[in-house]
């Protein structure tokens, strides 16, 4: 991409974010909102710079648990998605169970995981995994289940095995669905990690926000929220770029 087009593409979202912060700032000033209730973004950003040495290790911890959870979700989601996408029987058998699991509020599982695994990294990884698994599995299944029957006939009439069918058609065809789900899953995985850290960790952005709020340091809480949001945007953008490269054919 030429620098010029990159600039033109990056400008609208950057402007929207700037306007959002401006409205927030001016709104707080205009209505004289107490810093304890809602700090102005400039105050939250100042808090970030004040505490950045403490924020970064926590941010990296959250990023780590999110990525490990997401990685597990990609592996398991692709596998389960491929299975239920191929087999109508497995689909019928497993789908209600998947929906049931997905309907459980993940926050409600945090105390259970604390009992099982104690406080630490593992509950955060597991919550991130559980929350981001479902959209990946469903999308991969859709991509594979909607392979055109004629295409299946072409390959079967060549003596293709199920594995051939998956490698040559099912998998590449599911990729656009997979990337679409990945963009949803990555933001969800952050939600999962932070939710778990709020109650069941002594590290991570979530934990830092709990400590900050118990000290009534609301600007630091908001600094934490902004950092999580920025990491979410960064990962989303990374997957979007990867998507453009890998499945360019789907975006002509």
């Amino acid at each position: 991409m030429k620098p010029n087009t990159l600039l033109r593409r990056a400008f609208p979202p950057a402007a929207a974010i700037a306007l959002f912060f401006l409205a927030w700032e001016l709104g707080c000033l205009a209505f004289n909102v107490d810093e304890f209730i809602l700090p102005r973004p400039s105050v939250a950003i100042a808090a970030y710079f004040q505490w950045q040495e403490a924020i970064w290790p926590n941010a990296l911890q959250t990023l780590f648990t999110t990525l490990v959870g997401l990685g597990l979700a990609i592996a398991a989601g692709t596998l389960i998605g491929a299975l239920i996408g191929y087999s109508a029987l497995l689909y019928d058998a497993l789908y209600p169970l998947l929906v049931a699991f997905n309907s459980i509020p993940k926050a409600a599982l945090v105390p259970v995981f604390v009992i099982w695994f104690g406080v630490g990294t593992l509950p955060a990884v597991l919550i991130a995994f559980l929350i981001s698994f479902f959209p990946i599995a469903v999308n991969v299944a859709t991509g594979i289940a909607t392979v055109e029957p004629e295409l299946r006939d072409v390959l079967r009439s060549l003596g293709a095995s199920k594995l051939d069918l998956f490698a040559k058609v099912g998998f590449p065809r599911a990729l656009p669905y997979f990337f679409a789900s990945l963009k949803v899953a990555v933001t969800l995985a952050f939600v999962g990690s932070v939710v778990a850290e709020l109650g069941a960790s002594n590290r991570g952005i979530g934990n830092m926000m709990v400590i900050a709020s118990s000290r009534f340091d609301v600007p630091l809480v908001f600094a934490g929220l902004i950092v999580v949001a920025l990491m979410g945007i960064a990962l989303y953008a990374a997957f979007a770029i990867l998507e453009r490269r890998v499945v360019a054919w789907a975006y002509r």
Binding site: E150, D153, V154, S157, L158, G159, K168, L175, V247, A250
Partner: protein, 265 residues
Amino acid sequence: MERSQPCVALRDVSLFYRGDDGREVHALEGVSLSIAQGEFVAIAGPSGCGKTTILKLVAGLMPTTRGQVLIDGAPVRGPQKNVGMAFQNPTLLPWRSALENVLLPLEVVAPHRHHFRSRQREYEARAQELLQLVGLDGFANKPPYQLSGGMQQRVSLCRALIHEPEILLLDEPFAALDAFTREELWGVLQSLWLARRCTVILVTHDLREAVFLANTVYVMSKRPGRLVHMTHIDLPRPRTLEQMFHTQFTDYVHEIYNRIGEVRV
């Protein structure tokens, strides 16, 4: 054409299946047919008469309810490897270039799949040659969406032929194209067949297409599908579009048209 040992034979084939509403559908009933090696057969009939079913049975994609399908004297008991298929929808893989689409069968079908890497150059040259034969030189590296419907269908024909199948099964391959492109592709298919001389079964509802391309045209009745009429087309090859306006040609079309009229009522 000499009548050698039949390459494809259907012996009293019937196919029933249970439809979505639970009722039994009689798709084919008592169909017998024998096709010689290298013959070009067209099957014409009203829509929904089970024409496509015959192709799937020959390809071994579904089993018969009664009767037998034989290829080279051996009963069909599962997906065949020496057939090529093309459909109304070109079904190209959108993530592959035209050339890569043509190569697909060689990556899958034995024995080619085992030497695909070592002989990739040779296979690519073969695919290029086919693409040239259908008038697509210079389009090998284009993705399908940059090709017109007619071009995509040409690629689909190349894909059906790249592994040099003994039998080519065509399911209304030109039905979705405009009249000019369709007639152009009749010529393309004819020259492919004249070059390869494989056995072809073409399913169509276009009678001029059937007469233009085939040695033998069968007419099927509506459901349950039976073969009710057979005509040998005695026109010299290569046939030209100009011939379609000769009385000899139109007489054939007229005769078949009347037969279909009889079975539709």
